[in-house]
Symmetry: C2
Subunit: 317 residues, 2 copies
């Protein structure tokens, strides 16, 4: 199969591309804003890398790049949930406009399948937990979540029009190899700077579910949408942990025993969801289930970051 | 009160602005792409008209325009549901990016309230009819619907962040004075060109609800959101009619008896919703209800178009 991976030099995208290149002819698109070719390691299969910013590229150029390809894994995105309020264009450009460009280019080039990495953030502060795919999400709590919901909506209208089939994956936070952005990086950075103290955003009671990127990639590849034009799968773990436990797991993995200082708010930041736990029974009924525990994911991620110092110095603001 | 009306030279916007200028200091923004200053008639109150395209304007410039204003009625939009597939940027630019610009400018300038004209199209082909505000809308059937849903999501995230309060109105099709785009214009145009025959898109069984623009404007002004940061109201009539009856009403209003030729599809076009009927009980519980019948709205609209030939020659494609 001939497969495009947008954001293929990023965290999820690189793990996905490396898995796909064992079987597919893979063309990776990345603007290298947060991606890095080092994530991809040695080329073990059929891989081609194109530097392009899909949020500013002409649709005609993107359609030419996609010509003759069977499917697009659209993984490229701004994944920084917190940054939206300091730069309101980031989510609009990289998540909404980029997805519109990909959808229109796919339609013009005859691509028949788009697999889209969305987020559990689209549910906002859902009051129904665990949250299933059918829950409404009228109130978004972040520009990130609203941009992903918008991208889903755009893709669904192309699917309803018969342009191509779409499978949407709403992920919880993901950990593992090539992880370079998020709370575990923040914790490890802080602890390397000061092993005696760890300041945590929020009061530590926020409850989160995480999965390992290997489980994430398996979902993206295995839960393909072969029958219906538009299908949505929640992808998360079957349990959750509070942020204070997550902090302790990082501390333990590093062999440290710092003073952990929590904030006073029940959210880590404006738009942080104090309780993210997705109902994954639909994905499970299709044969997918998480195989790596949250504890093991955190430990592996900490070890990866300690082994790859350069990742810790990426994207520093 | 000091009030901004975007799209204030358009169909809904002009009716709204003329009502508001009786009580408010009104600043109208319009790019005059489909709006026309003739819709506004003589200035009967406090009115200022600024030509600006909010989809391409700088947020800084928009914030300056909004400085010192209390509220924004964001009415400007691409309202052509059918055009999305021939120009995929129209809904993205005029409905999503424009709304993002308005929201960010409002946040920066301290505007405390945004009233947004959305659409019942956000529900796609809802299977639950009449459709209430709480129904999920996972599958969009048009780029227009998905762009309005995206705009709602962006506004809701600003509201959740405490930037300003938002009231969203999901309208059915609207008729009345200054109506210049939609099926009644299409019918009147066709019948003026050929009074002996009227070709109707779709098989005529599509069921639609319409309201009069006077009822629409009353909803926008009266159902203000004073308590919760984000509120959604469906606005439509309490009954519906099939398209074949709608065609007959136009024909009767014009005093003609043409052969009416229907298509074979149960949709008028790709993305047309064969049955639009909103549950308006929430708006009614807040004191609003439609007062003008669909039949009267169609008759008034036909008369308006016959009295204003120039409107029929607008926006011809």
């Amino acid at each position: 199969m001939r497969t495009i991976v947008t954001g293929g030099a990023g965290f999820i995208g690189s793990n996905l591309a490396m898995m796909l290149e064992q079987t597919d002819e893979v063309r990776i698109l990345d603007n290298f804003s947060t991606g890095d070719s080092r994530f991809l390691g040695l080329n073990s299969g059929q891989r081609e890398l194109i530097e392009v910013d899909i949020s500013t590229a002409k649709v005609e150029a993107l359609a030419e790049i996609m010509e003759g390809f069977d499917r697009v894994f659209h993984i490229a995105a701004n994944a920084d949930v917190r940054g939206g309020w300091s730069n309101h264009r980031v989510d609009l450009d990289q998540n909404i406009i980029a997805t519109s460009n990909i959808a229109e280019a796919a339609r013009r080039s005859g691509v028949k399948e788009i697999i889209f990495a969305s987020t559990g953030c689209v549910y906002g502060d859902s009051t129904i937990i665990p949250t299933s795919e059918n829950e409404p999400f009228p109130i978004q709590t972040s520009l990130y979540g609203s941009s992903k919901a918008a991208a889903e909506g755009i893709l669904s209208s192309y699917a309803a029009q018969g342009a191509f089939n779409v499978t949407v994956f709403r992920f919880v936070s993901i950990l593992g190899k090539n992880y370079h952005h998020g709370h575990v990086v923040d914790f490890v950075r802080k602890l390397k700077a000061n092993p005696g103290e760890l300041a945590v955003l929020g009061n530590g009671t926020q409850k989160k579910s995480y999965i390992h990127v290997d489980d994430c990639v398996r979902a993206l590849i295995e839960l393909r949408n072969l029958k219906s034009p538009f299908e949505v799968f929640n992808i998360g773990h079957d349990y959750f942990i509070p942020v204070h436990k997550s902090a302790n797991l990082v501390v333990e993995s590093m062999g440290l025993s710092p003073r952990i200082v929590f904030g006073t708010e029940d959210r880590g930041w404006i738009g942080d969801n104090p309780f993210t736990f997705l109902d994954i029974s639909k994905a499970q009924s299709f044969g997918w289930t998480p195989t790596i525990s949250i504890e093991e994911s955190v430990a592996q991620t900490v070890q990866y970051l300690l082994d790859n110092d350069w990742v810790l110095s990426m994207n520093l603001k």
